[in-house]
Protein backbone atom coordinates (compact mmCIF):
# COMPACT_ATOMS: atom_id res chain seq x y z
CA UNK A 1 0.00 0.00 0.00
CA UNK A 2 2.63 2.44 1.04
CA UNK A 3 4.74 1.36 -1.92
CA UNK A 4 1.92 2.29 -4.31
CA UNK A 5 1.53 5.66 -2.58
CA UNK A 6 5.27 6.26 -2.82
CA UNK A 7 5.25 5.36 -6.50
CA UNK A 8 2.33 7.73 -7.10
CA UNK A 9 4.11 10.57 -5.29
CA UNK A 10 7.26 9.78 -7.25
CA UNK A 11 5.35 9.93 -10.56
CA UNK A 12 3.86 13.29 -9.58
CA UNK A 13 7.40 14.69 -9.70
CA UNK A 14 8.16 13.15 -13.09
CA UNK A 15 5.23 14.00 -15.36
CA UNK A 16 7.54 14.50 -18.36
CA UNK A 17 10.04 11.82 -17.32
CA UNK A 18 12.07 14.68 -15.90
CA UNK A 19 12.06 15.84 -12.30
CA UNK A 20 9.84 18.90 -12.02
CA UNK A 21 12.40 20.83 -9.98
CA UNK A 22 14.98 20.31 -12.70
CA UNK A 23 12.56 21.23 -15.47
CA UNK A 24 11.53 24.42 -13.72
CA UNK A 25 15.16 25.35 -13.10
CA UNK A 26 15.94 24.95 -16.82
CA UNK A 27 12.89 27.07 -17.69
CA UNK A 28 14.02 29.70 -15.19
CA UNK A 29 17.52 29.66 -16.70
CA UNK A 30 15.97 30.09 -20.15
CA UNK A 31 14.12 33.18 -18.91
CA UNK A 32 17.25 34.45 -17.16
CA UNK A 33 19.02 34.09 -20.50
CA UNK A 34 16.54 36.54 -21.99
CA UNK A 35 17.15 38.89 -19.06
CA UNK A 36 20.93 38.87 -19.46
CA UNK A 37 20.55 38.90 -23.24
CA UNK A 38 18.69 42.21 -22.94
CA UNK A 39 21.29 43.70 -20.60
CA UNK A 40 24.21 42.63 -22.81
CA UNK A 41 22.40 43.87 -25.93
CA UNK A 42 21.75 47.25 -24.30
CA UNK A 43 25.42 47.64 -23.40
CA UNK A 44 26.63 46.64 -26.86
CA UNK A 45 24.12 48.85 -28.69
CA UNK A 46 25.11 51.88 -26.61
CA UNK A 47 28.79 51.11 -27.24
CA UNK A 48 28.04 51.10 -30.97
CA UNK A 49 26.00 54.32 -30.84
CA UNK A 50 28.44 56.23 -28.60
CA UNK A 51 31.86 54.65 -29.23
CA UNK A 52 33.79 57.77 -28.30
CA UNK A 53 31.98 58.33 -25.02
CA UNK A 54 34.37 56.37 -22.86
CA UNK A 55 37.54 54.37 -23.35
CA UNK A 56 37.59 51.78 -20.57
CA UNK A 57 40.92 50.21 -21.53
CA UNK A 58 42.87 52.41 -19.12
CA UNK A 59 40.47 51.38 -16.35
CA UNK A 60 39.93 47.68 -16.99
CA UNK A 61 42.51 45.30 -15.57
CA UNK A 62 42.57 42.31 -17.89
CA UNK A 63 44.75 40.37 -15.46
CA UNK A 64 42.26 40.78 -12.62
CA UNK A 65 39.27 39.97 -14.83
CA UNK A 66 41.02 36.91 -16.27
CA UNK A 67 41.78 35.78 -12.74
CA UNK A 68 38.08 36.23 -11.82
CA UNK A 69 37.09 34.24 -14.90
CA UNK A 70 39.51 31.46 -14.00
CA UNK A 71 38.18 31.38 -10.42
CA UNK A 72 34.58 31.13 -11.63
CA UNK A 73 35.44 28.36 -14.12
CA UNK A 74 37.17 26.37 -11.39
CA UNK A 75 34.20 26.89 -9.07
CA UNK A 76 32.02 25.40 -11.80
CA UNK A 77 34.35 22.41 -11.92
CA UNK A 78 34.05 21.94 -8.15
CA UNK A 79 30.28 22.28 -8.41
CA UNK A 80 30.18 19.53 -11.05
CA UNK A 81 32.22 17.32 -8.68
CA UNK A 82 29.87 18.17 -5.81
CA UNK A 83 26.79 17.14 -7.82
CA UNK A 84 28.55 13.95 -8.91
CA UNK A 85 29.45 13.18 -5.27
CA UNK A 86 25.83 13.63 -4.19
CA UNK A 87 24.71 11.27 -6.97
CA UNK A 88 27.11 8.67 -5.57
CA UNK A 89 25.81 9.29 -2.05
CA UNK A 90 29.13 10.69 -0.80
CA UNK A 91 27.87 13.44 1.44
CA UNK A 92 31.24 14.35 2.89
CA UNK A 93 32.77 14.82 -0.55
CA UNK A 94 29.73 16.87 -1.58
CA UNK A 95 30.13 19.20 1.39
CA UNK A 96 33.88 19.56 0.79
CA UNK A 97 33.38 20.54 -2.84
CA UNK A 98 30.55 22.93 -1.98
CA UNK A 99 32.85 24.64 0.54
CA UNK A 100 35.33 25.11 -2.32
CA UNK A 101 32.63 26.57 -4.57
CA UNK A 102 31.57 29.02 -1.85
CA UNK A 103 35.21 30.02 -1.27
CA UNK A 104 35.77 30.67 -4.99
CA UNK A 105 32.45 32.51 -5.23
CA UNK A 106 33.51 34.80 -2.40
CA UNK A 107 36.88 35.45 -4.09
CA UNK A 108 35.03 36.39 -7.29
CA UNK A 109 32.74 38.75 -5.38
CA UNK A 110 35.76 40.26 -3.60
CA UNK A 111 37.44 40.93 -6.98
CA UNK A 112 34.26 42.55 -8.25
CA UNK A 113 33.90 44.79 -5.21
CA UNK A 114 37.57 45.82 -5.56
CA UNK A 115 37.08 46.52 -9.28
CA UNK A 116 33.91 48.57 -8.72
CA UNK A 117 35.60 50.60 -5.97
CA UNK A 118 38.51 51.39 -8.28
CA UNK A 119 36.17 52.43 -11.09
CA UNK A 120 34.17 54.74 -8.84
CA UNK A 121 37.39 56.37 -7.62
CA UNK A 122 38.35 56.93 -11.26
CA UNK A 123 35.01 58.64 -11.92
CA UNK A 124 33.08 55.85 -13.62
CA UNK A 125 29.72 55.63 -11.87
CA UNK A 126 26.12 54.66 -12.66
CA UNK A 127 25.38 58.32 -13.40
CA UNK A 128 28.53 59.16 -15.36
CA UNK A 129 27.10 58.22 -18.76
CA UNK A 130 25.65 55.42 -20.83
CA UNK A 131 28.79 53.30 -20.48
CA UNK A 132 28.79 53.50 -16.68
CA UNK A 133 25.03 52.84 -16.48
CA UNK A 134 24.99 49.78 -18.70
CA UNK A 135 28.30 48.40 -17.40
CA UNK A 136 27.39 48.59 -13.71
CA UNK A 137 23.85 47.35 -14.35
CA UNK A 138 25.09 44.30 -16.25
CA UNK A 139 28.06 43.30 -14.09
CA UNK A 140 26.21 44.27 -10.90
CA UNK A 141 23.25 42.05 -11.82
CA UNK A 142 25.66 39.21 -12.47
CA UNK A 143 27.34 39.86 -9.11
CA UNK A 144 23.94 39.67 -7.38
CA UNK A 145 23.37 36.30 -9.07
CA UNK A 146 26.73 35.07 -7.73
CA UNK A 147 25.84 36.32 -4.23
CA UNK A 148 22.47 34.51 -4.38
CA UNK A 149 24.31 31.35 -5.47
CA UNK A 150 26.71 31.61 -2.52
CA UNK A 151 23.78 32.04 -0.07
CA UNK A 152 21.99 29.08 -1.67
CA UNK A 153 25.05 26.85 -1.27
CA UNK A 154 25.55 28.01 2.32
CA UNK A 155 21.95 26.92 2.99
CA UNK A 156 22.70 23.52 1.41
CA UNK A 157 25.74 23.14 3.66
CA UNK A 158 23.59 23.99 6.67
CA UNK A 159 20.81 21.54 5.79
CA UNK A 160 23.21 18.66 5.11
CA UNK A 161 25.36 19.14 8.21
CA UNK A 162 23.70 16.40 10.28
CA UNK A 163 24.01 13.85 7.47
CA UNK A 164 20.33 12.85 7.63
CA UNK A 165 19.08 13.67 4.15
CA UNK A 166 16.74 12.05 1.66
CA UNK A 167 18.99 10.52 -0.97
CA UNK A 168 16.86 11.16 -4.06
CA UNK A 169 15.66 14.63 -3.04
CA UNK A 170 19.18 15.71 -2.08
CA UNK A 171 20.61 14.56 -5.40
CA UNK A 172 17.98 16.56 -7.28
CA UNK A 173 18.45 19.61 -5.02
CA UNK A 174 22.22 19.48 -5.54
CA UNK A 175 21.74 19.22 -9.30
CA UNK A 176 19.36 22.18 -9.37
CA UNK A 177 21.77 24.31 -7.32
CA UNK A 178 24.56 23.19 -9.64
CA UNK A 179 22.59 24.24 -12.71
CA UNK A 180 22.14 27.73 -11.26
CA UNK A 181 25.84 28.02 -10.43
CA UNK A 182 26.96 26.86 -13.89
CA UNK A 183 24.55 29.34 -15.48
CA UNK A 184 26.20 32.18 -13.53
CA UNK A 185 29.49 30.90 -14.93
CA UNK A 186 28.36 30.82 -18.57
CA UNK A 187 26.95 34.34 -18.31
CA UNK A 188 30.35 35.51 -17.11
CA UNK A 189 32.05 33.73 -20.01
CA UNK A 190 30.04 35.94 -22.39
CA UNK A 191 30.53 39.11 -20.30
CA UNK A 192 34.30 38.52 -20.13
CA UNK A 193 34.55 38.40 -23.91
CA UNK A 194 32.05 40.99 -25.10
CA UNK A 195 32.44 43.57 -22.32
CA UNK A 196 36.10 43.28 -21.37
CA UNK A 197 38.26 41.55 -23.99
CA UNK A 198 36.73 43.12 -27.09
CA UNK A 199 37.48 46.62 -25.74
CA UNK A 200 41.19 45.84 -25.94
CA UNK A 201 41.27 44.67 -29.54
CA UNK A 202 43.40 47.05 -31.59
CA UNK A 203 44.37 49.10 -28.53
CA UNK A 204 47.10 46.97 -27.00
CA UNK A 205 49.62 47.33 -29.77
CA UNK A 206 48.71 43.82 -30.83
CA UNK A 207 45.80 43.41 -33.23
CA UNK A 208 45.62 45.99 -36.04
Amino acid sequence: MSTAADASAHDAHHNLMVDNKKLFMWLFLGSDCMFFGTLISTHLIYRKLYPEEYDPTHLFSLELTSFSTFILLMSSFLMALAVSAMHKGELKSFRRNVCGVIFFGLIFLGCQVYEFTEFVHEGLTLQSGTFGSTFFLLTGTHGVHVAIGVIWLLCMLFYTQNGKVDAHESAVDAEVAGLYWHFVDIVWIIIFTVIYLIEFIGKTGGAH
Binding site: L23, W26, G30, E52, E53, F77, L91, I186, L197
Partner: protein, 119 residues
Protein backbone atom coordinates in the same frame (compact mmCIF):
# COMPACT_ATOMS: atom_id res chain seq x y z
CA UNK B 1 39.33 8.81 5.15
CA UNK B 2 36.33 7.15 3.54
CA UNK B 3 33.29 9.24 2.69
CA UNK B 4 30.26 8.53 4.82
CA UNK B 5 27.28 7.33 2.80
CA UNK B 6 23.85 8.89 3.10
CA UNK B 7 21.37 7.47 5.62
CA UNK B 8 19.10 6.16 2.87
CA UNK B 9 20.99 4.11 0.28
CA UNK B 10 20.58 5.30 -3.29
CA UNK B 11 18.59 2.85 -5.47
CA UNK B 12 21.07 1.92 -8.17
CA UNK B 13 24.06 4.15 -8.55
CA UNK B 14 26.04 3.82 -11.74
CA UNK B 15 29.41 4.49 -10.13
CA UNK B 16 31.38 3.70 -13.28
CA UNK B 17 29.27 6.29 -15.13
CA UNK B 18 29.99 8.87 -12.44
CA UNK B 19 33.71 8.03 -12.57
CA UNK B 20 33.73 8.56 -16.34
CA UNK B 21 32.06 11.92 -15.77
CA UNK B 22 34.77 12.78 -13.24
CA UNK B 23 37.48 12.36 -15.88
CA UNK B 24 35.41 14.38 -18.36
CA UNK B 25 35.05 17.17 -15.77
CA UNK B 26 38.79 17.27 -15.03
CA UNK B 27 39.68 17.38 -18.74
CA UNK B 28 37.10 20.06 -19.40
CA UNK B 29 38.31 22.22 -16.47
CA UNK B 30 41.87 22.07 -17.86
CA UNK B 31 40.68 22.93 -21.37
CA UNK B 32 38.58 25.85 -20.11
CA UNK B 33 41.52 27.25 -18.14
CA UNK B 34 43.77 26.93 -21.22
CA UNK B 35 41.19 28.59 -23.48
CA UNK B 36 40.87 31.51 -21.04
CA UNK B 37 44.66 31.92 -21.17
CA UNK B 38 44.60 31.87 -24.98
CA UNK B 39 41.87 34.53 -25.00
CA UNK B 40 43.94 36.78 -22.77
CA UNK B 41 47.09 36.42 -24.87
CA UNK B 42 45.22 36.80 -28.16
CA UNK B 43 44.36 40.48 -27.69
CA UNK B 44 48.07 41.27 -27.37
CA UNK B 45 49.14 39.40 -30.51
CA UNK B 46 49.70 41.24 -33.82
CA UNK B 47 46.83 39.70 -35.80
CA UNK B 48 44.14 41.54 -37.73
CA UNK B 49 41.22 42.89 -35.72
CA UNK B 50 38.68 40.83 -37.66
CA UNK B 51 40.62 37.64 -36.97
CA UNK B 52 40.93 38.34 -33.24
CA UNK B 53 37.21 39.23 -33.03
CA UNK B 54 36.23 36.00 -34.75
CA UNK B 55 38.51 33.79 -32.68
CA UNK B 56 37.42 35.41 -29.40
CA UNK B 57 33.74 34.93 -30.21
CA UNK B 58 34.39 31.33 -31.31
CA UNK B 59 36.36 30.51 -28.13
CA UNK B 60 33.70 32.14 -25.98
CA UNK B 61 30.98 30.09 -27.67
CA UNK B 62 33.05 26.95 -27.23
CA UNK B 63 33.38 27.56 -23.48
CA UNK B 64 29.67 28.43 -23.24
CA UNK B 65 28.56 25.25 -24.99
CA UNK B 66 31.10 23.03 -23.18
CA UNK B 67 29.90 24.15 -19.73
CA UNK B 68 26.25 23.66 -20.72
CA UNK B 69 26.87 20.26 -22.28
CA UNK B 70 29.12 18.64 -19.66
CA UNK B 71 29.04 20.59 -16.38
CA UNK B 72 25.27 21.16 -16.69
CA UNK B 73 24.75 17.56 -17.87
CA UNK B 74 22.68 18.59 -20.87
CA UNK B 75 24.20 15.88 -23.08
CA UNK B 76 23.25 13.28 -20.47
CA UNK B 77 19.70 14.63 -19.95
CA UNK B 78 16.36 14.62 -21.76
CA UNK B 79 15.83 16.61 -24.94
CA UNK B 80 13.01 18.62 -23.34
CA UNK B 81 15.56 20.36 -21.07
CA UNK B 82 17.62 21.39 -24.09
CA UNK B 83 14.44 22.76 -25.68
CA UNK B 84 13.48 24.64 -22.48
CA UNK B 85 16.86 26.35 -22.34
CA UNK B 86 17.26 26.67 -26.09
CA UNK B 87 14.03 28.64 -26.35
CA UNK B 88 15.33 31.24 -23.90
CA UNK B 89 18.67 31.35 -25.70
CA UNK B 90 16.98 31.78 -29.09
CA UNK B 91 14.86 34.67 -27.79
CA UNK B 92 17.91 36.30 -26.18
CA UNK B 93 19.91 36.04 -29.40
CA UNK B 94 16.91 37.24 -31.40
CA UNK B 95 16.55 40.26 -29.08
CA UNK B 96 20.15 41.25 -29.66
CA UNK B 97 19.89 40.76 -33.41
CA UNK B 98 16.65 42.76 -33.59
CA UNK B 99 18.10 45.58 -31.49
CA UNK B 100 21.20 45.63 -33.64
CA UNK B 101 19.09 46.02 -36.78
CA UNK B 102 16.79 48.60 -35.19
CA UNK B 103 19.27 50.78 -33.33
CA UNK B 104 22.67 49.82 -34.63
CA UNK B 105 21.84 50.77 -38.18
CA UNK B 106 23.78 53.70 -39.60
CA UNK B 107 20.47 55.15 -40.81
CA UNK B 108 19.33 55.73 -37.23
CA UNK B 109 20.62 58.95 -35.73
CA UNK B 110 21.51 58.34 -32.09
CA UNK B 111 19.87 60.54 -29.50
CA UNK B 112 22.05 63.42 -28.43
CA UNK B 113 23.00 63.13 -24.78
CA UNK B 114 24.54 66.24 -23.19
CA UNK B 115 28.30 65.81 -22.93
CA UNK B 116 28.40 62.73 -25.14
CA UNK B 117 29.32 62.91 -28.80
CA UNK B 118 27.29 60.36 -30.76
CA UNK B 119 28.74 58.19 -33.53
Amino acid sequence: MKDSPLDIPLPSIDKSGENKKYHAFVNLALILAAVTGIELVLVYLPFSIAFVYSVLIALSLFKFIAVIAWFMHLIYDKLILTLAFGTGMAIATGTYTALLFLLGSDRVAPVEIPGIVPM
